[in-house]
């Protein structure tokens, strides 16, 4: 579960028969805001260079926007064929944002401070009755300061991490491109194609200088079937993703001295050489199917169900550029089921939804030189939550939500025996208020509290999380401008230090 931030949902069908009490202009404005919520979901799909096997289904987003609609099927399934059902108006969006995270409390290989900058452009357009096109471009930059030894962007995300002997600053940057095309083959059958491509480079500023070059590719193909009355939607998708990473560690005058970790406790000193390289190759597949039904028994009651199965393979080699040594590989496979029930009658702006997610995956890693298992991890996650939206008068909307997850981990390292069995519970709750000051100006504020029980390598039992968000947006003749500010603090149990995050975002949409 991510930190406290607002739960965002989408309006499945923006052109419904909703008898909105707001004025026409206001209604259009609201639609745009809903769309923004949708766009923010793409951030997770564009979430950088990781290619997670099961991308997070983002209920929450770091922008304050009152939640009025349940999640749409594209959001929970990532089936590109369902995009057209969810977004039915042309839209253009620009955003620039910055996040400053100060890790007063940190793990050994975390940076002391990280500043992220992003420039984001997104658009989707209804080309004709049958075709919808969406595209996004994002430029990412992350500056990490005082990184102790790690040559990884996130040391703890890998079983085979790479470190050297120095402390320095690292700058990561690169573009990402995203493209989606939806086509209606018949009135009922939809096809979709989606591609996400990114390149990232980084450089550590002290010797051992380490330059990384990463290429990321994510392809999805999907098909969906709509019933004639639009109440039943079913679909299936296939996903292929690949990731190629290269870490080049060089040292001036002396040889680069690097280490490869196997898990979190055992490492190997690599042969020193003027250029030491780690190659990281990942490849994976995911297949899924989904089903949604609206207006069951009563108007506005609906269910959504999505499931997927996937597997990913990661191979690591380290050493010379010509004949690198095999350090092993790891395989992750598992499945996820996500279900939601929502109620949103067309005669009212009231909305309530419940969701449940079950995720089960299993990791195992093999030694590079011997046919033996070095690491195993079995993880099961149950997650559920609810969101309630209450419109108060015409100008105020309040949403509140609660989310909880239970993660059971069974982690083993076998080179030198280490076992961890965890049964962790994380939760958060929020309340968000949005007020329309006049026909063209809105302000919003959100407060959130939560608790997480982190993994063993955090070396703390739990963390309390508090966050606040404020913002406003105003409609101008050229479009709408929005400004958001976010503050978040993580307070580890029994530690004097904490983790603070400040965020600032400027956005423009029309």
């Amino acid at each position: 579960m991510s930190s406290c931030s607002i739960v965002l949902v989408h309006k499945l069908s923006l052109g419904t028969k909703s008898k909105d009490k707001w004025g026409h202009r206001m209604k259009k404005n609201v639609i745009k805001i809903f769309l923004i919520s949708g766009i923010l979901v793409f951030f997770s799909n564009l979430s950088g260079y990781e290619n997670p096997l099961f991308p997070d289904i983002v209920i929450e987003e770091p922008f304050s926007s009152t939640i009025r609609t349940p999640m749409n099927l594209y959001q929970i399934s990532v089936n590109p064929a369902l995009f057209k059902n969810s977004y039915q108006e042309d839209f253009v969006y620009y955003r620039a944002n910055s996040i400053d995270r100060i890790n007063f409390f940190r793990r050994v290989y975390d940076p002391k401070r990280q500043r992220d900058y992003q420039l984001f452009f997104y658009t989707h357009k209804i080309l004709d009755k049958k075709s919808t096109l969406a595209a996004a471009v994002r430029y990412n930059r992350a500056d990490q300061y005082d990184v102790y030894r790690s040559l990884e962007k996130n040391f703890y995300n890998n079983y085979f991490s790479y470190i050297d002997t120095t402390k320095g600053n690292v700058k990561y940057d690169g573009p990402q491109l995203w493209f989606l095309y939806n086509y209606s083959l018949t009135n009922n059958l939809l096809l979709g194609f989606e591609i996400d491509y990114g390149i990232e480079r980084s450089l550590k500023d002290v010797y051992t200088k380490c330059e990384t070059v990463i290429r990321n590719l994510d392809l999805k193909f999907g098909a969906a079937f709509n019933s004639n009355n639009g109440n039943v939607v079913t679909g299936a998708f296939a996903r292929y993703f690949s990731y190629e990473g290269q870490y080049n560690a060089v040292k001036e005058l002396q040889d680069a001295f690097v280490r490869t970790y196997f898990g979190y406790h055992v490492f190997r000193d690599e042969n020193p050489r003027s250029l030491n390289r780690k190659n990281d190759h990942k490849e994976g597949y995911e297949f899924g199917a989904q089903l949604a039904r609206k207006n069951i028994l009563v108007d506005g009651l609906g269910v959504q169900l999505s499931g997927s199965y996937g597997t990913r393979y990661t191979k690591i080699t380290v050493g010379s550029t010509t004949i690198p040594g095999d350090r092993g590989y790891w395989v992750r496979d598992g499945f996820r089921i996500f279900g939601a029930v929502f109620y949103q009658p067309v005669t009212s702006n009231f909305m309530f939804q419940l969701f449940y997610e079950y995720k089960d995956f299993y990791d195992w890693a093999r030694s590079g030189e011997y046919d033996v298992v070095t690491i195993e991890n079995d993880e099961i996650m149950h997650r559920f939550g609810s969101v309630l939206y209450l419109p108060l008068m015409n100008k105020v909307g309040i949403s509140s939500g609660f989310e909880m997850e239970n993660i059971r981990s069974d982690y083993h390292e076998y080179i030198v025996k280490f076992d961890y069995k965890g049964n962790r519970i994380n939760w958060n709750r929020f309340i968000d208020v949005k007020i329309s000051l006049d026909q063209i100006t809105n302000v919003h504020g959100k407060a959130c509290t939560g608790k997480i029980e982190p993994y063993f390598y955090w070396n703390t039992e739990k963390m309390d999380i508090i966050s606040f968000q404020y913002g406003f947006d105003r409609l101008f003749v050229f479009g709408t401008l929005g400004l958001d500010f976010n503050y978040e603090i993580w307070e580890p149990d029994g530690a004097d230090m904490n983790i603070e995050t400040f965020g600032l975002s400027v956005s423009y949409w029309k």
């Binding site: 079937f225 005058l253 001295f257 055992v266 597949y285 199965y309 040594g325 030694s367 070095t374």
Partner: protein, 359 residues
């Protein structure tokens, strides 16, 4: 058919599991290594056996042989291990079986387990000083920590592990190229090869051959506190046609005899072959006669480097994993210990020990 399409797409899911790699059936950390220790046909009890690896940051395993001469290590991680033995054994005397004699035995070998769960090997130890003679005991070639390419403090240490005095007269010290046919440098001690008696090396004594016999830790305006003081070296390499070569007048010289060679005896910081020969074959153009070779050591920082010298002279590499400009040195595990496999004969020292053996 259209309605069934999404369900047809679901079918591949059923076949996806394990589409990449099969999971191994064995787990790491469950290897058993059993080493029998033998000395002249007898299994040795109560001998401490050390098992260490460069593969992981795990500590050295120690076990003592039982009455059958067996040392067992289990369960341990799958890795390449180096086995070392240096111990005192009490055995019946060869001349008088009724009396007991104390021997210092040494031995080493490499354990390279396969995918099986058990590795069994026999290690034949030798009495310390076996295969005795003049040995290249230590080579310091990496240079001290510095950022101006300073490595002129290199030295080679010889050790006489025999019970007889050996004489350096006319011997040659060579830096080899590719195999014995190729000589890169050849420097010679003064005196007559084989018959000269001017420069003795008593038993159990060290000889330090410095590239430049000076105190490298105390050079004006060039602080190198982690270098080494070679001002009292026994010999100094000298090339009389290298006019910039430092020459300590108090230290005798080993001179270059290669025509046209204008460099001092500088050896590679990454990998090289050092050889000493008795000087009976001075025609270096066709290489060095293997029968004249007294000792030879090949070192390289990488274990997968190409061998540059014949396996009869050295089957391995010393100095695997060493860092250039790290101030580290390589030395035999015990003075003069030589099994003609530098991978197991040598250890890496964090700092050089000219003229004495590390603890």
């Amino acid at each position: 058919m259209v309605k069934k399409l999404p369900f047809l797409l679901f079918i591949p899911i059923l076949f996806l599991s394990g589409c990449f790699k099969g999971k191994p059936t064995q787990f790491d950390g469950e290897l058993a290594v059993k080493i029998y220790v033998i000395f002249e046909g007898n299994y040795l009890p109560d001998i401490p056996v050390l098992l260490s690896t460069f593969d992981y940051n795990i500590s050295t395993y120690i076990d003592t042989t039982d009455s059958a001469g067996l040392a067992e290590f289990e369960p341990i991680p799958y890795a390449d291990y180096k086995v070392n033995i240096k111990a005192t054994a009490i055995l019946p005397s060869f001349d008088n079986p009724d009396s007991l004699v104390e021997f210092t035995v040494v031995g080493a070998c490499i354990v390279e387990p396969g995918d099986g769960g058990i590795f069994i090997d026999t290690l034949e130890v030798i009495a310390s000083g076996a295969e005795s003679g003049l040995k290249i005991n230590e080579i310091y070639y990496t240079g001290p920590p510095n950022n101006f390419f300073y490595w002129y403090d290199q030295f080679i240490e010889l050790y006489n592990s025999s019970v007889d005095t050996v004489y350096l007269d006319g011997m040659v010290v060579c830096r080899m190229g590719t195999f014995l046919e190729s000589v890169t440098y050849i420097f010679q001690f003064p005196g007559e090869p084989l018959i000269g008696r001017e420069y003795p090396v008593p038993p159990d004594s060290f000889v330090v051959l410095a590239q430049d016999a000076m105190d490298h830790t105390n050079i004006p305006n060039l602080p190198l506190p982690e270098s080494v003081d070679l001002s009292h070296a026994d010999w100094e390499f000298r090339n009389s046609i290298d006019y910039g070569d430092f020459d300590n007048p108090d230290v005798p010289n080993i001179d270059n005899i290669e025509v046209g060679h204008r460099l001092d005896f500088m050896i590679n910081l990454v990998g090289d072959v050092i050889l000493i020969a008795d000087g009976s074959d001075l025609n270096y153009l066709d290489g060095i006669d293997i029968n004249s070779v007294i000792d030879c050591v090949e070192y390289h920082k990488s274990s997968d480097a190409m061998k540059e010298i014949e396996a009869e002279l050295d089957r391995g590499f010393a100095g695997v994993g060493i860092i250039k400009y790290g101030g580290e040195s390589i030395e035999r595990i015990s003075a003069g210990f030589d099994s003609n496999n530098s991978s197991i004969d040598f250890v890496i020292l964090s700092s050089p020990t000219p003229g004495y053996q590390h603890e």
